[in-house]
């Protein structure tokens, strides 16, 4: 009997204007959304390829260990075409430095070359489905009972020997039977578009995630069906019913999410990243004072022949004489561990900042438990691996990798080795700077004093007297480092299995809402006045 009633509902709905309009909306909105998302993903992938090639090229050019600061480039999430989450806001590359722990990624991942286009809030698949399906759920269920009552057919149906529960169950099943094909159609269109995009290929776990996404959309739809039916049963007329349902829809989908985030933002003050940077810079100044203290005790530190320097302690010397080289080695040995220590001090400040970010996000997330559409949004981002939890974990993994790398440096005593800052083999160091000048100028200038005299007399560069070539003094003589033993960053897969517990909590809440609604409906229906 339930099936009969359900079939009647389904067939009536199929020929109604509502259904045709629903199909039209799906056919119009879903393909455009998917094409925009796929385009964005292709852009992100292209940017990723360029960044990855750049990082690899850079890695293959390092000649000394003080340059070894690997850049981890994160590939774009394929599932982000379904749910973008926060993947457009997180940077895609993380540089591992000794002097600072990575806090947030760098670089743009929004996939738009023209930054102005970011101001168009393009909506991803999950949000369009949420908006459409919830609207349709309300439209198909608002007059489930009140409509029949107004038509006078409800009392006719119940005057037969079928129980109220059968009618209720049948009608509700009918609504679900009408909505499931529409939901399926949305997913089918998107899956087809994915299959026809050559650059995106999903693995088995990703298709499984799409399936779980479909199931959660179903749960979401059910909660809105429940809401619509409850309103239908409780309101005096179907006209009132639709008005209340629509305002509920507007509230849950458009107003509450913005209110929740706005509230979270005004409650937790973060401050500008610049201020954090300033405080960290103060630590850096302290650090460099310490370096100067150590450097003062080491003579002939700066008698460079060829020198190159840069960020995070990168220093590359070649051709300098032994005293310079050895003193630099002792400087590195003493100083680099202090640099690492200071990174931990800076981390305390960074952690504070991150905690504020996390608190804001937590408040927004807890507030979102009050709206089924927000719950659905969070669940989808967790399934697709584009939620905040995934990124927190990912950056954590980069910090762990940094510790592994530092341990590797320590285990191999790299800070105390010459290879940390010079590719030149020890045996080819000149004993003193004067020896170097003597050889290189073919004996014309035997020491620094004579060179200065010559330069003052000839007012210019001394390249004319540099007659003996000195290839060991130039970087290009030396090959890049063999980094095959260097620990590599194991690709962290932002996947569904990592966030299952969190998904269960939020899905559980949806389920509870669903059960609550339907028990309320059942109670109200039993007491319903069918006249």
């Amino acid at each position: 009997m339930i099936w009969h009633i359900a079939k009647k509902e389904l067939l009536l709905n199929l020929i109604s204007a509502r259904f045709i309009l629903a199909l039209l909306l799906c056919l119009l909105l879903i393909p455009v959304t998917m094409i925009v998302s796929v385009d964005s993903f292709n852009n992100q992938y292209r940017t990723y390829q360029v960044a990855k090639d750049g990082a690899e090229k850079e890695q293959n050019s390092w000649r000394v260990y003080s340059a070894v600061r690997p850049t981890i480039v994160l590939p774009p999430q394929p599932l982000s075409v379904f749910c973008q989450g926060i993947s457009g806001q997180m940077g895609h590359s993380v540089k591992i430095k000794l002097g600072e722990k990575p806090m947030l990624g760098e670089g743009q991942t929004n996939g738009r070359d023209n930054p102005l286009l970011l101001s168009f809030f393009s909506i991803d698949f999950v949000h369009i489905v949420a908006i459409l399906i919830s609207l349709l759920a309300l439209i198909f269920s608002y007059d489930l009972f009140s409509g029949e009552k107004e038509n006078g057919t409800l009392k006719l149906m119940l005057s037969n020997s079928i129980g109220k529960s059968t009618v209720i169950a049948g009608k509700i099943t009918g609504v679900f039977l009408t909505l499931i094909p529409i939901l399926l159609l949305c997913y089918l269109i998107s899956v087809l578009i994915i299959l026809f995009t050559p650059q995106i290929s999903f693995s088995a776990s990703e298709w499984f995630a799409v399936f779980i996404l479909f199931l959660s959309s179903f749960l979401f739809m059910a909660s809105f069906v429940g809401m619509g039916i409850l309103v239908s049963v409780k309101s005096r007329s179907s006209f009132n019913g639709i008005v209340i349902s629509l305002f509920l829809w507007l509230w849950f989908l458009f107003l509450w999410p913005n209110i929740a985030i706005y509230f979270a933002q005004s409650n937790v003050k973060i401050g500008m990243l610049d201020q954090l940077q300033q405080s960290m810079d103060q630590y850096d100044q302290e650090l460099y004072k310490k370096r100067d203290e150590i450097a003062q005790k080491l003579p002939e530190l700066y008698q460079y022949w060829n020198a190159n320097g840069g960020d995070d302690g990168y220093i590359e010397l070649s051709g300098s004489p032994l005293p310079t080289m050895d003193n630099n080695r002792r400087l590195m040995e003493l100083f680099e561990p202090i640099r690492i220590e200071y990174a931990d001090k800076k981390w305390a400040l960074q952690q504070e900042y991150l905690d504020k970010l996390e608190n804001q996000e937590k408040i927004a997330r807890y507030l979102s438990f009050m709206s089924p559409s927000e719950l659905f949004g969070h669940i989808s981002s967790m399934i697709c691996g584009t939620g905040s939890g995934s990124y927190f974990e990912l950056l954590n993994q980069t910090r762990i990798y940094r510790d592994v790398l530092i341990q590797y440096f320590r285990d191999n005593k790299i800070f105390s080795s010459f290879i940390y800052f010079t590719p030149q083999p020890e045996r080819s160091f000149f004993k003193t700077y004067d020896d170097l000048l003597n050889v290189v100028t073919g004996g014309i200038c035997k020491n620094r004093q004579e060179l200065k005299t010559w330069m003052d007399a000839h007012n210019g560069s001394w390249s004319v007297i540099w007659t003996v070539p000195y290839p060991e003094g130039s970087y290009s003589t030396y090959p890049p480092l063999d980094l095959s033993a260097l620990p590599k960053f194991t690709r962290y897969k932002l996947g569904i299995d990592k966030s299952l517990p969190a998904i269960f909590t939020e899905a559980g809440t949806l389920l509870i809402i669903f059960i609550l609604l339907f028990s309320l409906i059942y109670n109200a229906c039993i007491k319903y006045d069918v006249r």
Binding site: L29, Q89, L104, D113, L116, S122, I131, Y262, Q275, Q360
Partner: protein, 465 residues
């Protein structure tokens, strides 16, 4: 007769459930939005002041070193937070608000995200523009979708029209009543919000603020009339109220959700421009060509001696490099602006986007503000360069070989901080804002007229039985 129709309808609307629910929701959202805005604005202003004072300190430091360092060092100009964000922030979180420049060139623009939390989902601010575009438009559509088809279903339409009232007058009366009901719905919320903001003390009451608030109210009324015309059109498009509702909801969803996606789609597929990798490789190729053609010694440098002859070659080479990059990048930037503007125009089929465009212009924020700063900074950069060159000319210790990136061959005298020209943003004047907003306003008026005209034509053939 017209007055009677209007008054009865307004009374009916006010007593209806729809209006009452909307009224309550609107009051809640306006209140929450205004209170939260006060905190947010204070925080944003404090952050900006700290940032500016740090920038000032850096400038002082450079001025103390030498004037060339001041000229060649790339500076960032960050836009300040605007007080009128409570009316409409014109998506200022997503429009570029940071421009890099030095005395020789304006280099690039970017979005400085240093106050936003990347872990939060993107959201809208609860300002007046947001409330109007989402809540009010929805409520007005709900008010108007059954103006005609609902009356027809209730059988009262034929009764009204059997009187000596013409169809046109009747329709016009309905239209006005919806517009007036819509405005009445919004006004109390706006007033409450204004009171909260005035009490908080963050508002500076002056002509500009009065202009912005009045302007926004005029735009809001035009917007409400456009949406009312749309709702009335949906009402006349069908004989059943339910179908009218569906049509109006679909149109609302399409306008609200679809038009941004459509704009991005149009930008990607129809208004394609070069991507950043292509541009970068063009810049690199041009640089390589210049470097190859550079005469011998263009790369020598002697930090201690500005008059080292090779510095002249170096200055020329670096200037050529800068100019070639500038030419390619400026062209690309103009293409980006064009792409964005064309994509925006695609969204103007939606009255919601039109409202956004008008409020953006009236507030002097968002994209018009960015473009104005971009061109004003170019002017300032030229003035700054002229000032620098004049000072440099007076210095006998400078060979006057202008090098845009390096401190090797121009004046090294120090300068007092008070004498440095500093860029201050000039906000758009009221006439400028009106001119920018005018196309949007006209479009809204045309929208209402056109839709109402079509509705009249359709209503004249409407079967009232």
């Amino acid at each position: 007769m017209l007055k009677t129709i209007i008054l009865t309808d307004i009374k009916q609307n006010i007593q209806s459930l729809k209006l009452q629910i909307t009224f309550v929701i609107m009051l809640v959202v306006f209140t929450v939005g205004s209170i939260a805005y006060v905190f947010q604005y204070r925080n944003a202003l404090e952050d900006y002041r700290k940032y500016s004072s740090k920038m000032q300190d850096e400038l002082k430091m450079k001025a103390d070193i030498n004037i060339t360092k001041l000229a060649v060092e790339k500076k960032d100009y960050l836009f300040s937070p605007l007080l009128n964000g409570f009316i409409d922030d014109a998506k200022s979180q997503f429009i570029p608000n940071n421009i890099k420049y030095n005395a020789y060139n304006v280099y690039e623009y970017s979005i400085n995200r240093k106050t936003s939390n990347p872990y939060l989902f993107l959201s809208n601010e609860l300002n007046w523009g947001f409330i109007l575009s989402i809540l009010t438009s929805f409520a007005v559509l709900l008010l108007s979708y059954n103006a005609i088809s609902g009356e027809r279903e209730l059988q009262t339409l034929k009764l009204i029209l059997s009187n000596s009232v013409s169809r046109g007058v009747f329709l016009f009366g309905k239209y006005l009543s919806i517009v007036i009901s819509g405005v009445l719905m919004v006004l109390p919320g706006l007033l409450v919000s204004l009171i909260i903001l005035l009490l908080s003390g963050i508002l500076k009451v002056n002509t500009l603020l009065a202009f912005q608030i009045t302007g926004f109210m005029v735009a809001a009324t035009l917007f409400i009339s456009a949406i009312s015309a749309l709702g009335l059109f949906c009402s006349v498009a069908s004989r059943s109220a339910t179908v009218s509702l569906l049509i109006s909801l679909s149109l609302w969803s399409v306008f609200l959700i679809f038009s941004p996606n459509l704009a991005v789609f149009a930008a990607d597929q129809l208004f394609k421009i070069k991507n950043s990798e292509t541009v970068q490789s063009e810049v690199n190729m041009a640089s390589d060509a210049i470097n190859k053609a550079a005469p011998e010694g263009s790369w020598s440098m002697n930090g201690n001696d500005p008059f080292f002859e090779r510095h002249e070659l170096r200055a020329k080479n670096v200037t050529d490099l800068m100019n070639s990059e500038k030419q390619i990048k400026d062209e690309w930037y103009n293409n980006q602006f064009g792409q964005y503007e064309k994509a925006s125009r695609v969204t103007y089929i939606s009255p919601i986007s039109l409202l956004g465009m008008v409020s953006e212009s009236l507030m002097g924020s968002g994209y018009p503000r960015f473009r104005k700063n971009w061109s004003d900074l170019h002017t300032f950069q030229n003035q700054f360069l002229t000032w620098f060159k004049a000072l440099d000319a007076k210095d006998p210790k400078s060979p006057h070989w202008y090098n845009p990136y390096e401190d090797v061959s121009t004046s090294r005298q120090k300068i007092k901080f008070e004498e440095i020209p500093i860029y201050t943003e000039r906000m758009m004047t009221i006439p400028q804002r009106l001119t920018t907003a005018l196309p949007g306003i006209m479009l809204l008026v045309v929208y209402s007229f056109l839709l109402f005209g079509i509705t009249v034509v359709m209503f004249n053939r409407y079967d009232v039985r």
